[in-house]
């Protein structure tokens, strides 16, 4: 088919950018959709032809990703988030408003084709909840009025300026904060290489390349006791040391920027305001285990962030920090940015690799682990954005100094996004090991409106939920685990006493059912069943036995699914049934007094 010059050029570039052509598939589909509004049969055939694939291979990949459409969406695709953080701050009201204002429902298009509406899962704007995206533009802290104003402008053909920076990222620093990797946030043009260079930029790289050996880099990171900031908390230095040194295959580094754990929006400002810190961290990491190529896999929704990172990569090449013989050290390193297309599952490392290879984001069987058999079957290290962004600081101040910022085995600082019913939602950089209660009440301003605290999701919706009584704990990986939950991704969601926990369980399960990849039976069928059941229960049609069944089904998934997504769906559900069983019972008796359930129960 005939392509525009721009798209054709983009395709040509993508087709040759990767070690294997098929990797270009998802970006090609995304850029094609950007131009045409959807992916047509002819486009599928065209892309298949260009990548030596069968149509069905393109189709099945396309069908997996929620951002890719076969039918045209509106010129302005309005995507309202109703996931937990947004829900707690009125996301559902915004959605209702959108339906009324646009006179269309979920996944529908207005008659004139100008607008389409979609209720979406967490878009990574939790500290600016409720939020939405129109095409790739973020609008945060929405109210019905603000929403109407945006739509009115769009209707008039003007695109209102999107929020320039993740809401909540910039705020007056609290005394307890220890900005390290976020220290350049708020500096004008902090994303530019010149500004970065003025503020210690690429000094760590110079040190790593000139004064350190690959082994000593790994040692330094081991000493820092840096643990993966994506959620699992695996010691980073140890992970790097797993890469077989004698493998004749190329080694790869992947930066996991598929941030999509509900409640989490820290990687977005890290890339938005300090992309060079990430790039520097990646080069150092690559150096440590002998990778010469890095990929930054950015979730599809973060297109503007991808553009920022891409621009930074171009700058880094221009300044000789990327490419051949970096700083005369003889070390070569290339970085390729890559867009996802809407799939939470692709945050799981092996699914991400499948996705990066241009396939459906199905997780892989482990072992072998990515450090041995990863991308394209080669040794691969996958680290989160925050993990890699911490590397320059570790190299600069030394592993031991970095470690001292936190608690034993939990080195350094970490970014914590706090959202929901909290007075000062935002992204804070705090030392690991800070007391959670102190953080909520002192740093984040406590619960607004004099309400009482009911529950806390400590680090993304996959964690078991803590009750108000359980939060007097240190926020490090081990202490939170001891309290029966996980530090997770740093996405904290706070719920006050007005929160209906049945509704919360329902909404969480909606997310996992939507995001289940469908590979294994317990997750695919379990999340779907639980979703339907919790919907029914919350709508007032519950039965007494349902309460136990919810808990049992979640336990039947737990530990038996192919990848951790099943556990992620089961754990919060089990914790809610255990800790707030009374609320389920109240529902049965029609006594749910919580606001969010009122309409539903009343309609019985």
């Amino acid at each position: 088919m005939e392509l525009s010059t721009q798209l054709a050029a983009r395709f040509e570039k993508l087709q040759t950018a990767y070690p294997f052509k098929r990797s270009a598939l998802i970006p090609m589909l995304m850029y094609a959709q950007d131009e045409y509004g959807s992916v047509s049969d002819e486009m599928i055939a065209e892309i298949a032809r260009r990548l030596d694939l069968n149509n069905v291979q393109v189709e099945e990949t396309l069908a997996y990703y929620s951002m890719l459409h076969r039918k045209p969406m509106g010129k302005f695709h309005v995507q309202v988030c109703t996931n937990v953080a947004c829900m707690l701050r009125g996301g559902n009201d915004i959605l209702e408003r959108a339906k009324k204002r646009l006179e269309i429902g979920h996944k529908e298009v207005t008659e004139d084709g100008v607008f389409s509406l979609e209720e979406v899962e967490c878009i990574g704007a939790c500290t600016g909840a409720p939020a939405m995206q129109v095409n790739y533009d973020f609008y945060e802290n929405l109210t019905a009025l603000k929403f109407d104003r945006i739509i009115k402008e769009l209707d008039g053909g003007r695109v209102p300026p999107p929020e320039p920076v993740t809401a909540g990222a910039l705020h007056a620093r609290e005394p307890g904060e220890t900005p390290l990797i976020s220290r350049r946030w708020g500096i004008k043009d902090s994303r530019k290489i010149d500004v970065y260079l003025e503020h210690d930029g690429y000094k760590a790289l110079e040190k790593a390349l000139k004064e350190m050996t690959p082994e000593s880099i790994i040692d330094e990171v081991k000493k820092s006791s840096l643990r993966g900031r994506g959620g699992a908390g695996f010691p980073t230095g140890m992970k790097w040391s797993f890469v077989p040194k004698d493998s004749p295959k190329p080694k790869y580094l992947i930066c996991n920027a598929d941030e999509s754990e509900p409640g989490t929006c820290k990687d977005r400002p890290l890339m938005e305001m300090d992309p060079h810190q990430l790039i520097e961290g990646m080069i150092i990491a690559g150096r440590s285990f002998g990778a010469h190529r890095g990929f930054i896999y950015v979730r599809g929704e973060y297109r503007y962030v991808l553009d920022i990172v891409e621009a930074a990569v171009v700058e880094a090449y221009a300044h000789g920090y990327l490419g051949k013989d970096i700083l005369g050290s003889g070390f070569d390193f290339d970085i390729l940015t890559h867009t996802g297309a809407g799939a939470y599952e692709c945050g799981e490392e092996s699914a991400l690799m499948e996705s990066l290879e241009g396939k459906r984001g199905y997780p892989r069987i482990k072992p072998p682990f990515p450090a041995v058999v990863g991308l394209y079957g080669c040794p691969t290290i996958i680290n989160n954005v925050e993990t890699l962004s911490s590397v320059p600081a570790i190299i600069l101040e030394g592993g031991e100094n970095y470690a001292k910022r936190g608690t034993p085995k939990n080195g350094g600082t970490r970014l914590l996004c706090v959202a929901g019913h909290i007075a000062k939602p935002g992204i804070y950089e705090i030392p690991l090991g800070m007391n959670m209660k102190k953080f909520i009440y002192e740093m984040a301003g406590g619960i607004p409106g004099g309400k009482k605290l009911k529950a806390v999701i400590p680090g993304g919706s996959s964690c078991p939920i803590l009750s108000a009584e359980e939060i007097d704990i240190a926020m490090d990986y081990d202490s939170v685990a001891k309290a029966g939950s996980m530090l997770g991704s740093g996405g904290m969601v706070v719920m006050d006493e007005t929160t209906c926990m049945v509704d919360m369980a329902r909404r969480i399960m909606h997310f996992y059912a939507h995001e289940s990849c469908g590979w294994c039976i317990p997750c695919r069928e379990g999340t779907s069943w639980l979703k339907k059941m919790l919907d029914r229960f919350h709508a007032g049609y519950g039965r007494n036995e349902d309460i136990d069944i919810v808990g049992e089904l979640a336990k039947n998934m737990l530990g038996r699914t192919f990848c951790p997504l099943g556990d992620a769906a089961a754990l919060p559900t089990i914790s809610i049934v255990q800790k707030w069983r009374n609320e389920f019972e109240d529902h049965l008796n029609g006594k749910c007094a919580y606001k969010s359930a009122e309409a539903l129960v009343g309609s019985r």
């Binding site: 069968n54 990849c517 038996r560």
Partner: protein, 746 residues
């Protein structure tokens, strides 16, 4: 594997020894312990998706999938604990949530893996009260229907289509609980229509256009026999109800093909009930054929043959046999020609030069003829000519299997860009007819070839020389002297070399082995070998002629010019496509035909006998790689008789007229007993055959002065059937003929 140390693990307190690398699920099966699974399928990539095979392993906190867990020394596995049983029950409960439970009308009901597992491991009550996901059923092709709600997403179909067939016609659409299987062309399939996806489906999600909603599994009987189409000899199990074949598959994975069948093996059986089947004997009166009684037809045939014999002598009669009749029938047919009529005018449509191969190998043939199994085990394959994907689908499957499982290397010399090219390590493009020259160069570095071709052939030679085992497979393009040169080339390679000639039809090899050749006795002894002749003379009585007879094309030509007076055709259609002097019956006084349908040859015959198909008879056939298997009668069609019966009847009639001796074999098995004793290489073990297996024949000929052997150009000729054609039979396979893919093929 004697030097490989076995690994000992404990399964349910029993010590089990397995080779290193064995999966726990296989180790459990070894001791007869069932660990259920849907997605695990031997030979296909691992998935660990269905979670049915979760087992307890000591020192591992979580349950482990036995299908991905490799057995290690000292591992302690438990497959039947409360935790394991609970997990299985839970998985089945999850699976049934969106499964429609329309078992009473589902094709799979009664033989459904999900049904069986729920029966064995499932819960007795259902707790699911929500709405199920519903989708309408989709028709993907005449042969394949998809019912998404029944689908349990084990992805076997997707894998077998991709990994097994290299067709990649299936994919997965949507995600999560909405996941579905999608076909490659929007709402329909465009593929090889092998139906592997249907058979491999553990539930009733993929159903067959020819079988769906026709019957229930328990209403049928199951007859395992050999596919009657190509020469590969796939075992096919025919499901029969009221003597009618309802479907064909091979779910017990027995036979050389295990679960493989192509479109013909799986769907090409409907010719048996085609309305055009000849159901009565017919005799020509004037310019028309009239149905007559069996007595009249047999009487007429014998009398008129005797008349021609008396008037024109032995060699005034010719015999052309079939590529599809059984070994026993072929054996009797040539006995009729040689012993009863005393002529070597006997031949068949030769589609591969088996004689050439056996002769070229001489005494080494016993050890150098490649079996289908060995084809999948060879480290390197050299394929010269032929298009196995279309013409020899099992051979193609075996080649792909070797590439997939042991990283076999495939080298192709072909004038066409055949589909296997994309699996090839090296593909050398020839021009049509260049195969012998290329082989000659490989063998002796002789001949004038373009330099780029020389370069490629040198590379192929070097690569093959480095392999420990080489399978050389070739089509009709390589015959006579070219085979001798191919063997000369093979003998120079360092590794063990085995050969396979690829013919066209179900018993092409058997026809040659049984001596449907003008110059060879059964077992390839040359007709001038007096010792060999005497052996058969003792069995059959009379004196066998020692001079080679006419080939099939020569007979057709002789019919045209009047040198041949009578032609006896069994299951062939020579008068429409053999010969160089024109077609038709020419100056024949008598033409007798055994046939299933009124072919061009049958239409102009004087006497036509309605013949049974391979699916309606007992006997044996030999596939192109020389493996013999038993046919079993599945269908009963009113009217036709087996060629065995027809020949037997005729022999009695002829004896009464003073010609030869009547055949006193009561059953094909009795003929087979004689073949085992009399035909060199056919003294195979009966046990393997009787249990439904294949036995390798060990034909070979001593180099008795007839090597090198060469054949006239054009005598060995492949019909170039595709997946959607099958000679005469194909034209009466209604379903196959109706497919758009069949039309698209030339």
């Amino acid at each position: 594997m004697a030097d490989t140390k076995l690994v000992t693990l404990k399964i349910n307190d029993r010590d089990v020894q397995v080779p290193p690398g064995t999966l726990v699920i296989e180790a459990t099966r070894r001791i007869g312990t069932e660990v259920p699974s849907f997605c695990y399928y031997p030979g296909l990539s691992l998935q660990a998706a269905c979670r049915m095979c979760l087992v307890e392993v000591e020192k591992m906190p979580k349950l482990q999938t036995a299908c991905t867990l490799v057995a290690t020394e000292g591992m302690v596995v438990r497959t039947n604990t409360d935790q394991v049983r609970g997990a299985r029950k839970a998985m089945l409960e999850f699976l049934l949530t969106n499964h429609p439970l329309d078992c009473p009308v589902c094709d799979k009901g009664g033989e459904c893996e999900l049904q069986d597992m729920v029966f064995r491991y499932g819960a007795d009550t259902s707790r699911f009260v929500e709405e199920k996901i519903h989708r309408p059923e989709e028709k993907w092709s005449e042969l394949v229907y998809y019912d998404a709600p029944r689908c349990i997403l084990c992805f076997r179909c997707v894998r077998v289509c991709d990994e097994g067939m290299d067709v990649k016609a299936l994919g997965v659409g949507m995600r999560g609980a909405n996941s579905i299987i999608i076909p490659n062309r929007e709402d329909h399939l465009e593929c090889e229509e092998c139906g592997m996806c249907i058979d491999i489906c553990p539930v009733g999600a993929l159903t067959s256009g020819t079988y769906r909603y026709k019957t229930r599994p328990w209403e049928m009987t199951y007859v395992s026999t050999v596919c009657t189409h190509c020469s590969n000899g796939c075992k096919t199990t025919l499901s029969v109800r009221n003597h009618e074949i309802m479907r064909a598959n091979n779910r017990d994975l027995s036979g050389i093909n295990e679960d493989f069948l192509c479109i013909k093996g799986r769907f090409g059986f409907d010719f048996t009930k085609h309305p055009d089947r000849i159901r009565q004997p017919m005799v020509r009166k004037g310019d028309k054929l009239y149905p007559v009684s069996w007595e009249e037809a047999a009487q007429t045939a014998a009398t008129r043959l005797k008349q021609v014999y008396d008037a024109g002598g032995k060699d005034s009669i010719g015999f052309i046999g079939s590529n599809r009749t059984s070994n026993e029938e072929d054996y009797l047919f040539q006995r009729l020609a040689r012993a009863t009529f005393g002529t070597n005018n006997i031949d068949h449509h030769r589609t591969a030069d088996y004689t050439g191969l056996v002769t070229a190998l001489g005494d080494n043939a016993v050890d150098s003829l490649l079996t289908m199994k060995q084809l999948a085990e060879a480290k390197a394959v050299l394929l010269v000519g032929n298009d196995p994907t279309e013409q020899n689908p099992l051979a193609a499957w075996q080649i792909r299997k070797g590439i997939r499982h042991i990283g076999a290397k495939l080298f192709i010399l072909n004038a066409r860009d055949i589909k296997l090219k994309r699996k090839a390590t090296q593909f050398v493009k020839l021009v049509t007819g260049q195969e012998p020259a290329a082989i000659r160069f490989m063998a002796h570095e002789e001949g004038q070839l373009p330099s780029n071709l020389v370069e490629q052939l040198v590379q192929v030679k070097a690569a093959l020389d480095a392999e420990p085992e080489v399978a050389i497979v070739f089509g009709a393009e390589v015959a006579g002297a070219a085979i001798a040169q191919l063997v000369a080339f093979g003998s120079k390679l360092h590794g063990k070399v085995r050969y396979m000639a690829l013919g066209d039809y179900a018993n092409s090899r058997g026809a040659a082995d049984m001596g449907l050749l003008p110059d060879r006795l059964p077992g390839y002894a040359h007709i001038d070998d007096s010792a060999a002749r005497e052996g058969f003379e003792r069995l059959w009585g009379g004196v066998l002629p020692s001079k080679a007879g006419m080939t099939a094309p020569a007979m057709v030509d002789a019919a045209q010019n009047g040198k041949l007076k009578a032609l006896y055709v069994m299951g062939a259609n020579p008068l429409s496509h053999f010969g160089t002097l024109g077609f038709g019956r020419g100056k024949l006084d008598l033409l007798i035909v055994h046939e299933m349908f009124l072919t061009d040859t049958a239409k102009i015959a004087d006497i036509v006998f309605p013949a049974a198909s391979a699916y309606e008879k007992e006997g044996s056939v030999t596939n192109t790689s020389g493996e013999i298997q038993l046919l079993h009668k599945a269908a009963e069609v009113m009217g036709p008789r087996t060629d065995f019966d027809l020949l037997r009847i005729l022999s009695h009639q002829l004896e009464r007229l003073g010609l030869g001796k009547a055949f006193h074999y009561k059953t094909p098995a009795a003929v087979f007993e004689e073949i085992r004793k009399a035909v060199p290489g056919y003294d195979v073990q009966a046990a393997g055959l009787l249990t439904g297996g294949a036995e390798s024949t060990q034909v070979h000929v001593a180099k008795n002065g007839h090597a090198p052997y060469d054949v006239p150009v054009g005598l060995i000729r492949s019909a170039q059937d595709t997946l959607f054609t099958s000679g005469t039979l194909g034209r009466f396979c209604t379903m196959m003929e109706s497919l758009p893919e069949a039309e698209a093929k030339p």
